[in-house]
């Protein structure tokens, strides 16, 4: 084969490669040129039969053609493969603007009462308070008598108590009207020093815009040999700052009366009203948030603690009310209605676990 024929073959093959419009055509070209029986391969096979002087020159020429064709094939293959992938991907295009399901973590909620209870627990746990519990159905003794509210005491009327039918022992169980009976249970079960809080449901036979027959309170109790009113004041101030997540709070302690504490106080917290929002720690308005005092000696005697030796304080605060103040729910009744719209709006994401490190409302 002459040099010009070899050039012609090269031109023909390169032309066929250039014209190949898809990978299978290109593969046919490759086989026809470089395949075992391809035209270039056939020329190579002829080399063996040539005289050595011709073999060198012809071999070089054929090799040059082979190299050129192989390079063209490779280039074309890359080009066609790229185009094919692009075509396939174009075909696979999805509408990525479709909204996706966010999954259960976005759906689930923690009720504000639970969340706020966890917040309160977090704060008091840091001050060494453990969580005490007691039943909702209480004895008259624990709910009243042991708390220095004997039968016929006028304070009993203020409690709007739910009663059950008289038991075999002649007393009527009650639905606890406050979390204070947990004080009694705690002091009967354990010896001082004691630091506990007792969150839970309480019940009053009362229902209107701001009262529901069931609501939540948290009781606090410290009993030892030295805790006084100054400690109570400190604990409540620290609690309010931590709970409302403000650097300073204004608090006002007003003398009051509860049968189970003496001296007794009601505590107001300073706030400002900006639009519909309450801002704790600002302004000059006052809002009553809790009742507290030094545990009455008669209460200590009722649980057989010697008031000459032991003393301490107790306080009670409404959990629902704290939640409303902090998070702005307008209506207490909605807390217990099970309305998904309300629960989703005011509820908390499952992983919003209140911690002191990350902040209570993170």
């Amino acid at each position: 084969m002459s040099a010009s024929e070899l050039d012609g073959l090269k031109t023909e093959l390169l032309g066929a490669i250039a014209q190949a419009s898809d990978l299978s055509t290109l593969e046919e070209v490759r086989i026809s040129a470089l395949g075992k029986k391809g035209r270039v391969s056939a020329l190579m096979q002829r080399l063996g039969a040539m005289p050595p002087e011709e073999r060198r020159d012809f071999g070089q020429a054929v090799n040059a053609v082979k190299t050129a064709v192989a390079a063209a094939l490779e280039t074309k293959h890359a080009e066609l493969a790229g185009a094919a992938t692009a075509a396939r991907l174009a075909h696979e295009r999805a509408d990525v603007t479709l909204p996706v399901r966010e999954g259960p973590l976005s759906e689930g909620r923690i009720h504000p009462v639970s969340q706020v209870t966890d917040e309160i627990t977090e704060i008091f746990a840091d001050m060494g308070f453990r969580i005490a519990e007691g039943p909702d159905i209480e004895t008259d003794f624990n709910n009243f008598t042991a708390l220095n509210i004997p039968p016929d005491h006028p304070a009993r009327q203020d409690h709007d108590t739910f009663y059950f039918t008289e038991g075999p022992d002649g007393t009527r169980p009650v639905l606890r009207t406050h979390t204070s009976p947990v004080q009694i249970r705690t002091m009967l079960a354990d010896k001082p020093p004691l630091r506990v809080i007792a969150p839970g449901r309480v019940y009053r036979c009362d229902s209107d815009q701001t009262h529901t027959p069931m609501f939540h309170q948290v009781e606090g109790l410290v009993i030892d040999e030295e805790t006084h009113l100054g400690h109570l004041k400190w604990v409540l101030e620290e609690f309010c700052k931590a709970f409302f997540e403000v650097p300073e709070v204004k608090m006002r302690f007003r003398a009051s009366h509860f049968p189970f504490t003496e001296p007794s106080m009601e505590v107001d917290i300073g706030y400002a009203k900006v639009g519909d929002e309450l801002r704790i720690g600002e302004g000059d308005r006052w809002l009553e948030i809790l009742g507290c005092g030094m545990v009455h000696p008669n209460v200590l005697k009722a649980v057989e603690l010697d008031p000459k030796k032991y003393q301490g304080f107790a306080f009670g605060v409404g959990i629902d009310r704290l939640a409303m103040l902090k998070y702005g729910m307008p209506d207490l009744r909605a807390f217990f209605a099970g309305d998904l719209r309300w629960l989703k709006h005011y509820g908390f994401a499952p992983l919003s676990v209140p911690t002191l490190a990350a902040g209570l409302s993170n």
């Binding site: 479709l98 399901r101 259960p104 689930g108 009720h111 969580i131 009663y163 100054g230």
Partner: protein
């Protein structure tokens, strides 16, 4: 308890402002609920003189006035017939809000004549309904001065809440004494002068009690005043009563009401001409009735203290007098009663008959027993001053109850309980102004409380007085000792588990609700409750009458309400308490969840990626199992039995058991009858987890067991079995897993099939068994041997056969 500033100042010498008084009252425990200052409401209204009055050129009934306001002379159009030159009245300039008209005055043209303000009537100021003419003030009234003062309306009204321990502050004088003790002025001397009786009291007074009931009324004093002239009481008295919301009736009754509020001393006046024979206090007799001043007839009982004459019951001691013998304008002879009634008995009587009265309110809290006679003298003094007449001598039956004994007071208790360090001088001064007597010179004193303070009986009561009058603001905040450098955990395992389950269920898309602890009786019965011991005696409504046996009725009805509002798919849970009985140990904690509509783990309702499955047993079983797994009880350790209670679908429910005795929970689709009874609709599925049933964790320490991960390749083999249609898949999986506990690491049931190729009444269950060699790679022979054991175990347990 209401009073006015002027009234207070009759007992208290003070220069303090209304604001200072209010602030102090609140601080010392007499919480101010409202201060109403009529002067503030009327501050824009001024006294003005009509200088000139001419007929309106275009209207017959109108006049054009020239008014001197003290600042300007203004033209005012006025329709009042009594408007005339020279009269003084109340003027409202442009820009004033007129309460009786509920609008703010603007400059106006009335029938073409400009009018710059208004002369007002009493109705326009909301003082009365009087509207026949404008207010006419005395000629001497100063032009330009505040109208409130000219009208005698410049007396601020305080409304304070009195805690039940402070009956002494149910009288203005008691409030004044407290303010004086708080340093806000000086208590004035009492001005009660005994009125000498001119004749012997003809009305005998008797106390007819047995020894053990004599405490009902230990002392009863009375006297007759003859020849009185009853009728409306004087203006100052009427105004004062009206200011505190009482309706003036007649002078004699008004006097008793006045003293009740002035001194906290309730009294009663009888028309003596309507009495028959001796007046006595005694216990009621069965069947006795009387008509009280409120016009209602009450039946008394033997526990009540009544006042009676020879013929009838006249009243309930300490609670309310009778209509028959009350004083009217025609009364000329009045019998005045002042007595002491036992607080407890008075409270019981009031409660039994449901009577609220100012007298009951005071007696049940405890009036001053030593003020029985001074109160009677004060009343006589007022009666003779305001109504004339002659008073008889005083008759007293019984004796003033013994004063409370003195008690020991260690002054160091103040510091110990309050953290306050106060000079003893200050403390002693406070007690002196409260009327507390202290004897002794050391720290340990003998203290005697005044007769008007039933609340002071022990040392701690005196500490309260000191703290109250000093102010808690002055107590230094003192940090609690820190128990540990880094706070130790405080939750019990039970509490921590509840927290974990709550967050876990929420993280599965369930929304936490808090529903009532009480439900309708019928709903409680549907869920195994309804015991009489859990029925409220005094429910707020029948909807909230029975303690719930489970959280399911509350959650199902909440789901129903959401559905009714158009939210048809969702998942709710509650973690709280329910009641099996009234004893503390009958209260149990459960985590209960309900899925309704299309609700599953991946979401709820329709979606382009595929709608959520209708709420079914598998979804709620997964919720329950996931919670238990988080608590350390894996699915492999839980046995599923078909022992779910009857409120579940019998074929699509189960119980989660730990051994034969412990039921950790139940789950399933709800029974259609249960849903019907609650007005709810399928699909709805629920689970209940009894968290208290879970045994305490056995874990000790924090280390986890060492990981047993073998480097040897695990081998997986699939088997399909043909079993009867009612064979439990759980039994098949258990059987396979038990075939070789050493080698079989996992059995995964990956297919359940009925239909083509599976005979009628049968089903095909396919499992993947993972073999994990521990020592050496398994040979084919060893694998085949295990496979044979698996097949044998499954066939034995289920009666099924290996599919070819």
């Amino acid at each position: 308890m209401k009073f006015t500033l002027a009234w207070l100042k009759e007992h208290l010498d003070t220069e303090a402002s209304v604001e200072e008084i209010a602030e102090t009252l609140t601080r010392i425990g007499l919480e101010v609920e409202e201060v109403f200052d009529p002067a503030t409401a009327l501050k824009d209204f001024r006294v003005a003189e009509v200088v000139n009055a001419e007929k309106h050129p275009d209207a017959d009934k109108l006049q054009v006035l020239e008014v001197d306001t003290g600042k300007d002379r203004l033209q005012v159009v006025c329709g009042a017939p009594n408007a005339r030159a020279g009269m003084k009245g109340v003027f409202a300039p442009v820009g004033t809000y007129v309460p009786g008209l509920d609008f703010t005055l603007t400059k106006a043209k009335i029938r073409g004549v400009e009018s710059n303000g208004m002369m007002v009537s009493e109705r326009e100021l909301e003082l009365s309904d009087e509207h026949s003419g404008i207010i006419e003030l005395a000629p001497k009234t100063k032009v330009g001065s505040p109208a409130a003062k000219a009208l005698g309306l410049d007396d601020a009204v305080f409304d304070i809440a009195i805690t039940p321990n402070r009956p002494d502050c149910l009288g203005v004088r008691g409030v004044a004494r407290d303010l004086a003790a708080a340093g806000l002025g000086k208590l004035k001397k009492s001005t009660i002068k005994p009125v000498k009786g001119g004749f012997e009291n003809p009305i005998a007074i008797k106390l007819e009690f047995a020894k053990d009931t004599a405490s009902a009324c230990p002392i009863f004093a009375g006297r007759l005043a003859r020849g009185v002239k009853n009728g409306p009481s004087p203006d100052w008295l009427q105004r004062r009563l009206r200011a505190i919301g009482l309706r003036p009736i007649n002078a004699l009754v008004d006097i008793t009401n006045y003293i009740s509020y002035d001194r906290g001393r309730p009294l009663h006046v009888y028309d003596a001409d309507k009495l028959t024979g001796a007046v006595r206090a005694r216990l009621g007799k069965p069947g006795e009735k009387f008509t009280a001043l409120d016009g209602k007839t009450y039946t008394v009982d033997e526990a009540m203290c009544v006042i009676a004459d020879e013929a009838n019951v006249l009243g309930l001691g300490g609670v309310m007098g009778g209509e028959e013998t009350g004083c009217t304008d025609a009364t000329t002879n009045v019998f005045i009663e002042s007595a002491y009634f036992d607080p407890k008995r008075t409270a019981r009587t009031g409660r039994t008959l449901n009577i609220q009265s100012d007298a009951r309110f005071r007696f049940e809290r405890g009036v001053d027993p030593e003020f029985v006679l001074p109160g009677l003298e004060l009343a006589t003094q007022m009666v003779t001053e305001l109504c004339g007449g002659n008073a008889s001598q005083v008759t007293v039956a019984g004796k003033t109850p013994k004063p409370k004994p003195p008690f020991k007071f260690d002054m160091t208790l103040i510091g110990r309980l309050s953290g306050l360090a106060l000079p003893h001088r200050d403390i002693r001064r406070k007690f002196a102004s409260l009327g507390v007597k202290l004897e002794g010179k050391t720290n340990v004193l003998k203290a005697t409380a005044p007769s008007w303070r039933p609340d002071i009986t022990a040392a701690v009561d005196l500490v309260e007085e000191v703290v109250r009058l000093t102010g808690v603001d002055r107590v230094p905040a003192t940090p609690l000792t820190r128990l540990a450098g880094v706070a130790a955990p405080v939750l019990t395992e039970r509490q921590a588990r509840q927290r974990l389950v709550r967050r876990l269920l929420a993280s599965r898309g369930l929304v936490e609700a808090v529903t009532w602890s009480f439900v309708p009786l019928a709903e409680a019965r549907l869920f195994g409750g309804g015991q009489p011991e859990l029925t409220l005696d005094n429910p707020i409504s029948t909807e909230l009458a029975q303690m719930r046996p489970s959280m399911l009725p509350g959650l199902i009805t909440a789901a129903k309400r959401n559905r009714d509002r158009g939210f048809v798919d969702g998942a709710l849970f509650e973690l709280g308490q329910a009641y099996r009985g009234a004893k503390p140990e009958d209260q149990y904690v459960a985590a209960t969840g309900v899925r309704f509509g299309q609700s599953a783990l991946n979401g709820s309702g329709r979606h382009w990626s595929g709608a959520a499955l209708a709420a079914e047993w598998a979804a709620v079983k997964a919720d329950a199992i996931a919670a238990l797994s988080a608590l350390g009880v894996g699915q492999a350790n839980i046995q599923i039995s078909r022992e779910a209670p009857q409120w579940f679908h019998p074929g699509r429910s189960g119980a989660l058991k730990l051994g034969p005795k412990v039921t950790l929970g139940v789950f399933g689709e709800l029974h259609p009858d249960t849903l019907d009874a609650l007005g709810a609709e399928a699909p709805m599925a629920a689970f209940e987890l009894f968290l208290d049933a879970l045994p305490a964790s056995k874990r000790k320490g924090t280390a986890k067991p060492a990981l047993q991960a073998s480097d040897l390749q695990a081998v997986r083999r699939d088997f399909a079995f043909l079993v009867d249609g009612d064979t439990d898949a759980g039994a098949l999986v258990r059987a396979a897993a038990s075939a070789d506990r050493a080698l079989i690491a996992e059995v995964n049931l990956f297919d359940m099939f009925t239909g083509q190729g599976v005979p009628e009444g049968k089903k095909s269950l396919a499992i993947e068994v993972t073999l994990q060699p521990r020592v050496k790679t398994l040979t084919d022979a060893e694998i085949d041997a295990v496979a044979e054991k698996v097949v044998a175990a499954v066939v034995k347990a289920t009666g099924g056969e290996l599919r070819g």
